[in-house]
């Protein structure tokens, strides 16, 4: 479950006040809003990259409001993928497990499993340079899922893709979410993307979050 309760955040001159939303466990939540509406700020607060002024954030059963982002157990796929240019795709999928000092064999198995799930087996030994937009986002998704997070946060992951790739990636995201059962919060400004993916659809407008689907 992702539960945001009466959240207030100050980000420079920008301020979000008293917003709430809940995505139940195993569901795909989409937060839709125009550029500058504050949706990325909310996502970054869930990730722990921004501090909360007021309110609280609950992930699963745990209050993570003041918890360090490293121990929140949230997978993150940023807009541009933010791949590590010095690492191969395999290293990306391996990275979180390596940090957790997982046994080599377990890492190897997890990398193979993710590569198969995302259809990137043929890219494992390549570096990010030269990968297409869709491939980059698959790698970023694999990296975020590698440590089996309880929550997945996606920040406009498909905004830089062409229409065909976007549709294919939507199918992949939906498929992967169903297979892994990871509670997901996806932020986008694209209505079509939101309609395709959302079990729970929220709209942020004038600093207020409205639940669009299912109607509350």
């Amino acid at each position: 479950m992702i539960q945001i309760e009466n959240l207030s955040v100050q980000a420079g001159d920008f301020r979000i006040q008293n917003v709430s939303l809940t995505v139940p466990s195993g569901k795909y939540g989409v937060l839709m809003g125009k550029t500058g509406s504050g949706k990325t700020t909310i996502l970054e607060t869930v990730l722990g990259l921004r501090s909360v002024s007021l309110g609280r954030i609950v992930l699963g059963e745990q209050d993570v409001t003041t918890l360090n982002p490293a121990v929140r157990g949230v997978g993150y796929v940023p807009q541009d993928g933010a791949l590590f240019s010095s690492m191969t795709v395999r290293d990306h999928l391996d990275f979180a497990l390596m940090i957790r000092k997982a046994p080599k064999l377990a890492c190897q198995r997890r990398v193979e499993e993710l590569a198969e799930l995302l259809g990137i087996e043929h890219l494992l030994d390549r570096k990010p340079r030269g990968l297409s937009g869709g491939e980059r986002q698959r790698v970023a998704l694999g990296r975020a899922l590698s440590f089996q997070p309880k929550v997945l946060c996606l920040d406009e992951p498909l905004s830089a893709l062409d229409d065909d790739t976007r549709v294919r990636m939507c199918e992949l995201l939906s498929d992967v979410q169903k297979k892994t059962g990871t509670t997901t919060l996806h932020v986008t400004h694209n209505r079509d993307e939101a309609e395709r993916l959302a079990d729970y659809l929220f709209r942020i407008e004038d600093g207020q979050i409205q639940q669009v689907r299912p109607e509350s």
Binding site: Y76, A82, S86, I99
Partner: protein, 314 residues
């Protein structure tokens, strides 16, 4: 040249007034030949203006080489045309055979490398903090870091000398001032500022999201820095090292004041040029200068090669 197109809406004009008023002329279409001539003039001007500096740099190097060639041939004609006389009368060979110059070369290589390594070690954390974090006094710190760049070199040397009059520096002054460590310290004082600037620019250009992602994957800040940011900054580190090394090689003002110009002791290549010029041996001064040019060129080529290899691997 400065005519305003009649279609543009000036202050006070409104869509209504232009719709109701006279038919607005769209003006003359620019002709292809006019644009072509204008573009040619534009590029010609820029090439000439930029090229002047390139000609100056290359001209200086050619002049050095020509001077030495001339001196070599002068020696040959006065002593016969044997291969031995070509080698023995080459000003560079003569300079290299001089024990004082040999000492100066070694001290230069060692002190420049030490100064560059220390500069990079300081520049990486400093550049990172300034690039990634907002804190009180950041503007002031930024200005302080520019001081060694804008300050006259002699003033830096003098300031270092004065600094070592006060404790705790005074306690080690005997082992530093006018000794070999002063050479490294004087070079470092200026070179580090350039390295910090380079590292800040490097970190500015690396997507901060990469670190954010690393942190969400379970990294501490130090792990994110070591595993993600540092490998991304590899080329910047190399550039900072090269810049600091080259800067150290060319340092002279602070050295003269803070280290002195003692032969076989604190003499580095730039000091050698000064000392040779002082005794009127222009040939030796030019030869040492040429050695410095070659050292700098070798470092630049090596850096470019390592840099492009790294790029190719990516």
């Amino acid at each position: 040249m400065n005519s305003t197109p009649p279609t543009s809406e000036g202050p006070g004009s409104s869509p209504e007034s232009s719709a109701e008023g006279h038919a607005v002329s769209p003006g003359r279409e620019p002709s292809a030949s006019q644009i072509g001539v204008s573009n040619a003039i534009f590029y010609a001007l820029f090439v000439v203006m930029g090229g002047t500096y390139v000609v100056l740099i290359v001209g200086m190097l050619i002049a050095d080489a020509a001077y030495m060639t001339e001196k070599t041939f002068d020696g040959i004609t006065s002593e016969g045309r044997s291969l031995f006389s070509v080698i023995s009368h080459n000003p560079i060979a003569t300079a290299l055979a001089d024990k004082r110059i040999q000492h100066s070369i070694w001290l230069s290589l060692i002190s420049c490398t030490m100064s560059a390594v220390i500069s990079v070690m300081i520049a990486i954390p400093m550049g990172y903090l300034i690039s990634r974090h907002e804190f009180r006094g950041k503007q002031l710190l930024d200005a302080v870091l520019d001081i060694p760049i804008v300050l006259p070199p002699l003033v830096i040397g003098l300031s270092l000398l004065i600094l070592f009059q006060f404790p705790p520096f005074r306690w080690i002054a005997r082992d530093v001032v006018y000794q070999v460590p002063s050479v490294v310290l004087a070079q470092f004082s200026v070179a580090c500022a350039f390295a910090v600037r380079t590292m800040k620019a490097t970190f500015d250009h690396i997507n901060p999201r990469c670190e954010d992602v690393a942190v969400t994957l379970g990294c501490s800040r130090a792990q994110a820095f070591g595993w993600v940011l540092l490998p991304e900054a590899e080329r910047g580190i190399l550039t900072a090292f090269t810049l600091a090394w080259a800067r150290s090689l060319g340092e002279f003002g602070p050295l003269l004041i803070f280290s002195g110009a003692t032969r076989m002791k604190t003499e580095v290549l730039s000091t050698s040029v000064f000392l040779e010029m002082n005794v009127g041996d222009i040939e030796a001064a030019v030869a040492v200068s040429f050695i410095m040019v070659m050292a700098a060129v070798v470092v630049l080529i090596l850096t470019r090669m390592i840099g492009s290899d790294h790029q190719a691997i990516k």
